[in-house]
Symmetry: none
Subunit: 416 residues, 2 copies
């Protein structure tokens, strides 16, 4: 079954709002095993909306339209679907009564134009809206299925998951199952080069690489009649990727992030992790504290943006700063070691570098970053050279610091 999403609303065309509905619906449809080849955004314009619906009916089996079911004159989705299908709009007494109750319950009088929402294309199944006045609608005609949903996410999401997904499920026999293998410490091109043979001629399961800052995610997806069967198709590929990338795989769980994986390694060992940042200015600590409950392993983060602070808070020697500069392996090392001492943490991470746009020189260009990691009594310093904007360099530095921490912790245990 091929599904197509049509989002109706001029506010989307103007960029006033981000189309989170499309992402939500697409994810749900993928989980149902429906293939989606197109998403279209079109405004509240009769001619263009009709054209879009007609085109979608030619190339897809299931149309999911969202938006344009409101009470105002520019809400025309209901009318245009009826027009394209050659149906009359008929009054739905049930919907009319619900609209009456909706306003009565709020002690409000009913604006006349709200009654438009009680009309439906003849033959449509009405789906009650528990969170608003616009009912959802489902039409099935000549093997095509059209679903109409209200635009507000808080109305659309529950209506779709609770009332429309069961309909869709019946339409599709196949089940989709995906596993994401998440890598750190390797670039997208390198990762892909390592699996070119797997990428070529892949059918079921399929695999797609996604590049994130400092990470590569490999998504393995299989389609089958049962979920168990789909899982069986996915598993060997996941194992193969684990074998090829070894310790570079930090998780195969969709919801686990790199910072979470690092925090978990620290927690398992009953350790603490502390951070000392210069050019990243707190981004590493901020990313670690995205993890709920990270307080079990993270207590202290220092942003030592000035040399004075590096000496005062971390005990970096002024000689070191004057001899080698703030951006040097020596300073990164002293930052990590001073932090480990003072912070009483088994894992001490430091970052010092030149994020730009200014402050670069021939021997120390913008993008030069030193990352220090002390685990127990061993300190490692890594030199990195990043490109891109100030923010990109800072983000890359944070990802590299987490990756270094992870490998140092694993090494300490001789796990790598």
């Amino acid at each position: 079954m091929i599904v197509e999403l049509i989002s109706v609303g001029t506010e989307l065309l103007l960029g006033n709002i981000v189309n989170t509905n499309a992402a939500f619906l697409a994810e749900q449809c993928a989980a149902l095993g429906l293939s989606c080849f197109y998403q279209t955004v079109v405004g509240d314009n009769a001619e263009r909306l009709c054209e879009t619906i007609e085109k979608a009916l030619e190339r897809s089996d299931v149309l999911i339209l969202s938006g344009g079911l409101g009470p105002t004159q520019d809400d025309i989705t209901r009318d245009m679907v009826a027009k394209v299908l050659g149906k009359d709009l008929v009054l739905d007494e049930h919907s009319k009564e619900r609209i009456r109750l909706f306003f009565a319950g709020r002690g409000q009088s009913i604006p006349d134009n709200n009654w438009r929402q009680a009309y439906k294309p003849d033959g449509a199944v009405v789906i009650d809206n528990e969170n608003g006045t616009a009912p959802g609608l489902i039409l099935s005609e000549k093997g095509k299925h059209i679903f109409l949903l209200p635009g507000p996410p808080n109305e659309l999401k529950p209506m779709f998951t609770e009332q429309m997904m069961p309909y869709l499920q019946k339409l599709e026999e196949a089940v989709i199952f995906s596993v994401t293998v998440k890598l750190c410490g390797i670039g997208e091109s390198q990762a892909e080069t390592d699996i070119l043979d797997l990428l070529e001629g892949q059918t079921n399961p399929t695999m797609a690489p996604y590049a994130k800052t400092g990470e590569v995610h490999l998504r393995v997806t299989a389609k089958a009649v049962t979920e168990g069967e789909a899982r069986r198709l996915v598993q060997p590929m996941v194992e193969e990727l684990k074998n090829r990338f070894g310790h570079k795989v930090y998780t195969t769980q969709e919801e686990v992030t790199l910072e979470q994986a690092v925090a978990e390694l620290v927690r398992e060992r009953g350790w603490k992790l502390a951070t000392a940042e210069s050019c990243t200015g707190g981004m590493l600590a901020a990313r670690l504290t995205r993890v709920p409950g990270v307080s079990a392993v993270f207590e202290t983060g220092l942003v030592t943006y000035a040399n004075e602070t590096k000496s005062a808070l971390l005990g970096v020697k002024e000689d070191t700063l004057s001899a080698f500069g703030a951006v040097s392996p020596e300073t990164a090392r002293e930052m990590a070691e001073g932090l480990a001492e003072r912070g009483g943490a088994e894992v001490a991470l430091s970052i010092t570098g030149i994020a730009g746009p200014d402050g670069g020189s021939a021997d120390k260009p913008v993008g030069l970053v030193y990352i220090g990691c002390r685990v127990k009594d061993k300190t490692v310093v890594k030199e990195c050279r990043f490109g891109g904007s100030r923010e990109k360099i800072r983000e890359s530095s944070v990802a590299a610091a987490l990756t270094l921490a992870r490998s140092c912790i694993l090494k300490e245990k001789g796990e790598k």
Copy 2:
């Protein structure tokens, strides 16, 4: 001029990522006075991508394609545009050299597949990518214009605003001039209520409010034959907004951010600003250090995530913590005052709160945040109650802290 957006990527069709690029590009195009009637998302599929490009060329003057310029096999946008226009792909030596330098700068060897990114449809203008290896491309053919952008937002956004918007501007005879009046310390609905009379029946200039976390941006846009004329149309409206919102206007310069405005107030006074964060875990310091050259005013940031650290680094009394708790006005005050003392900063900002999802209680629910601000010898503590996810609460707290700092600094000078 009619523009059409085509986002290429299977990850969009699967709902793995939200299409923020489309919202960004649509907003920018609207600001340029370009009409956008359709946005399409299509996967990395040759046939369907070609169809989509052909259809768009029929109905629109300007096509903006994003995504599918990467080095991997499934990145085919470049090739399909060439195919539809009947152009050969030719090697661009300049791009090849830039790719070589990109990897050389990182001391990395170049994966073979990256060279694909040095090819362009014959006749295309190459737009350098300052944040990645995929160059942008512009083709003009028979009165139609095609713009190709890389998919990653941190590459797409700067490339579009800095290098492609000037091209687009030239295509449109009318000149569009916008001024964004940026407000802090006021909600969107309040801001809108205050200018309902201005919003009604507006034609030229037009005004659109955009809600950001902790901020409201009012963009005033005029269309005219010359920029001077457009400026003259915009100016009175900007003045009116300044009068209505007074000190809540922190800038009318497009590029100035709230953190920049605060840093500038501190710099003007020859002061320093320091931060002490609990629930935001470094996000405030990270946001301040987005500002290039902020080292002139920002030297020290402390992330005191544990109670012990609050006492050790900031001298928060253990009695205070046990009597009132870490999330209390008393703790926020002692954090700010301890920080001012130790950090030797005239402006000391502290944040302590419950970001959730756990840790809330009846009297201290998730979203309760206290912000302390000491300017010179005066300390103010503000109580906030935020909604939304853990990250949303943290972002709202950072914006509120910057807003409080700004108003305390202005008050200290009796400017408000």
